[in-house]
Amino acid sequence: MSSGSNAAFRRLFNEIGTVDQVGIEERVAKYTTRSIKKAAKVQGLKLAVTMVDLTTLEGKDTPGKVASLCQKALAPHDGLDCPQVAAVCVYPAMVRHARRALGEDTAVRIASVATAFPSGQAPLRTRLAEVKAAVADGADEIDMVINRGAFLAGEFQEMQDEIAAVVQACGDATLKVILEVSELETYDKIRAASFLAMRVIRPGDFIKTSTGKTSLNATLGNNQVMIEAIRDFYLETGTPIAMKPAGGIRTAKQALQFLIAVKETLGDEWLNNTRYRFGASSLLNDLLRQLEKEKTGAYQAPYYFSEAAESY
């Protein structure tokens, strides 16, 4: 790392503070000892369903697969008093197919990963054009990736200018800024990137952990770093920023642990799908399976639940 980037990081850390890895991992381990039973469990599971961004991000995605994903999003399971998910999340080329499958008059939103996802390694104007195209095709939300190269080199202005340009390109669409935490190396830098992003996005826009395309995705640890950054930013500026952990959250138990973290860090106002989302696909069926278990007292075999997508 050049001394210039070092100085840039030092200045930023002096402003926003640092994170102790051992301490924060001890903190999040306590969430996993919480015991959620009965009505609280059902409520938590249903809440988690409403927060799912049901995702398929594969090279082999087809309009047919996206249509089936949308169907699952609208009606996750028969016979359960079960809410719809928050959104479907697809590649820009699939947005119009998703719009056709969902229709215009639906509460399920369409999110699209634009900006040369997952690497972001395309010229800015290509990335902005992709965002505009996705929005024009009917995307309600745009999931962008930050310029990690610029960030790690300490070129914060460049990174923030690009985010600001995407905000412009989004128009009315909600923006989610993917930090790709596994490429940021330390909790300190995850906190730093969170602050840099939050300073240029709008109230109600999201910061998001990962693309799901690298080895390490959402963990309770990096989720905690980011929601603490959101909390500090909110208390300082009054601007509420939303959060989306993505990738690696596959079980209902994990989802409840993330929600406990939200409840105890950000409080009640973040316990809804305008402020918190899960980027996931296999999570949904585990949530449904647990809801079915709470209702009937018995675990159903996994094949009783329709598969809509297999991605992260």
């Binding site: 051992v22 903190r27 919480r34 009505a39 609280a40 208390l235 929600l259 105890e264 009640d268 106002e269």
Partner: protein, 502 residues
Amino acid sequence: MSILTSENKRPTKRSAGRPLPELIFGDLWEFDPAPETADPKLKPRYDLFIGGRFVAPVSGKYFDSINPANETKLAEIAQANAADVDAAYAAAQKGFAVWSKLPGKERAKYIYRLARLLQDRAREFAVAETMDGGKPIKESRDFDVPMAAAHFFYHAGWADKLEYVAPGRKVAPLGVVGQVIPWNFPLLMMAWKLAPALAMGNTIVIKPAETTSVTALKFAEIVQDAGFPAGVVNIVTGFGDTGAAVLNHPAAVKVAFTGSTEVGKIIMRSLAGTDKKMTMELGGKAANIVFDDAPLDQAVEGIVNGIFFNQGHVCCAGSRLLVHEPVAAAVLAKLKTRIRTLRVGDPLDKNTDIGAINSREQLTRIEKLVASGVKEGADMFQPACKLPTKGYYFRPTVFSGVSMSHRIAREEIFGPVLSVLTFRTLDEAVEKANNTAYGLSAGVWTDKGSRILKMSTELKAGVVWANTYNKFDPTSPFGGYKESGFGREGGRQGLLDYCKLV
């Protein structure tokens, strides 16, 4: 230095006149009760454990053990008098003749058995410990019981390696030791006392605290199951007079006491002029020192763990928070936010963070000291949590604007009450931290390694934790300076307090 820390440097995105943003920790998603349901297998009445058997007290008197969480009676406990204590010492002397002659590796087998049997019955003991003392089940389950087992494992490992305890010297057991333990960690303190004494080949007469005798007497069942020779471990229960009889008994060659400094002084007075060996682990008023470069959220977590662990009934609790002035406001704000999410209530609920105060007497003492804090002009903060209607509970409490002369900054409160003071320079922090009669523990929070090393040499405390708090390990000696006592428990140093060098 930080935009989070100084009011006037904050970015002014917030337009004037709008209310300050606040977090809402309400009941939108309330947790259902999640009680631990393991059977604690309590007997309605517990006798004394002398010579390997449960025997009724000579006086025939019993007293009630109360569950502080709901004020119901848990069990009747035998009240031992001087005659019972005599019998216990006689049994222990007989036991010593057998136990001290066993080779170390044979003694180790018995001690390993204690550890394993305790692990086998961990849930049962955790529930009993929580019902008896009021501590949250998550602490007795995740800390007290596993830690007690760890102490037996560790010292069992020493039993056949005693020739290496004091290089160049040989060691021999002392004889019969008398021990009195407190009510804050009943089972764990018992393990701290028994394990090194047993490993060295001593036999024991031990008295648990009157409010928390149940797990000690349940542990007597484990001593029986482990097949110990009669009289190696003897447990007598009762009040202060029983404790005095145990510590003053002429057959005790060494006494070990953990408890308040006040009682420790009385014991030392009464033992002056005898040739008994002594170790004392007494009170504390630890300083937890946060510098401006510390990661604040983790420091706050450590502050919370330092003072609210076990309702603050911890002799090494970080009850004085010393904050560097540049970050004082930020730390206090973060601390208040964090405290609002602590769950106070039924200790048996797995989600409870702060359980019941151990006894009405202790609750009264806490209330009195908190009232003095208010009267002396410190700012009190308590979260608006609901407390159960029955039982002894106290809200987590933070006093800010405390000065060194306030009673709440000097006296050990032994409850969930934190006093916050500030400092400007490292020297001032050291001076304030050391300006106390106690010296058991301290905490330092900073990113700078050199500062940690400097602080750890300047602070007069037996333990200095750096960027963490309340961490224990059987291999690490624990004990105090000044009026926090002398002698060490744990590690090689702890063993040396239970032997003579020959």
